[in-house]
């Protein structure tokens, strides 16, 4: 599959098919836009401590909600800040994370 196709592909939770947890996953996905704004806002403001904290929170929560790929990408952002990588490198990791967050979906693939 091409990179472009992968970048447009929806990201589903491993828990999306669980009838008891579906509603919680939906809530988690609904809140994703706020997380995207906060992460982007922290980076744009140069507040890297906040960016690291937000990425750390998302890393723990996303995987627990069955979004393992988002956890991996959030770890990459957190780690890039911790290791004091260059601003373009941090932004690159952040963009990968935000792309996944935008494609997060509740439910199961049709």
């Amino acid at each position: 599959m091409s990179n472009v196709a992968q970048e447009n592909r929806p990201v589903y939770s491993d828990l999306g098919g669980d009838p008891d947890l579906g509603e919680l996953v939906e809530m988690f996905v609904d809140e994703m836009e706020d997380r995207i704004q906060s992460l982007r806002g922290a980076f744009d403001a140069g507040d890297l401590d906040k960016l690291r904290t937000l990425a750390h929170q998302l890393k723990g929560a996303a995987g627990s909600y069955g979004f393992g790929t988002i956890t991996d990408a959030a770890f990459a952002v957190e780690s890039s800040v911790r290791r004091q990588l260059s601003t373009p490198q941090i932004e690159h990791e952040l963009e990968s994370l935000l792309s996944l967050c935008r494609r997060a979906r509740a439910g199961v693939p049709s």
Binding site: D20, L21, L24, M27, T53, G60, A61, G63, S64
Partner: protein
């Protein structure tokens, strides 16, 4: 009437991430149903207030939260009730922080992301351990006759 041993164990979840609190409460609810009373908070100050106001049997807390360490919540819980079992949930932990947690009486810990089965297994073990303490304590009290109490005063 509820005796100390028939009382439902009370569980408090503390995590600065609301989505985590919701999920962990759901996991507990669907495994333990009405056999345990679980509540959660994202605010460490509120957590300390609840710990002081109520008898918490099992505390599940994030180790790393902005402005406060889970260790401080553990200390508050143990000061209030030495029998409170404390489970840490952590995103990552240094060797030192885990040793500190053990030294202060943490029961166990779990690394995020949380897997439901592993989480519930730890909760079940902690509740069993807590129950054993309560039984032992209640038997100790039963042995304290008026005569033995009189010997104390």
């Amino acid at each position: 009437m509820q005796t100390p041993l028939s009382r439902k164990p009370k569980i408090l979840i503390v995590d600065d991430e609301p989505a985590m609190v919701r999920l962990l409460l759901k996991f507990i609810e669907r495994r333990f149903g009405d056999r345990a009373q679980a509540e959660g908070t994202i605010d460490p100050t509120d957590a300390k207030k609840r710990i002081n106001d109520q008898l918490i049997d099992l505390l599940v807390t994030d180790l790393e939260m902005p402005g406060i360490s889970g260790m401080e919540i553990l200390r508050a819980a143990k000061r209030r009730n030495a029998f409170t079992q404390v489970l840490f949930i952590t995103g990552h932990s240094s060797h030192e922080s885990l040793l500190d947690a053990l030294e202060l009486g943490a029961t166990d810990y779990l690394v995020k992301p949380v897997v439901e089965e592993s989480f519930l297994e730890l909760i079940a073990e902690a509740l069993k351990r807590h129950h054993r303490w309560r039984v032992a304590l209640s038997e100790t009290w039963r042995d304290v006759t008026p005569v033995s109490v009189a010997e104390w005063v």
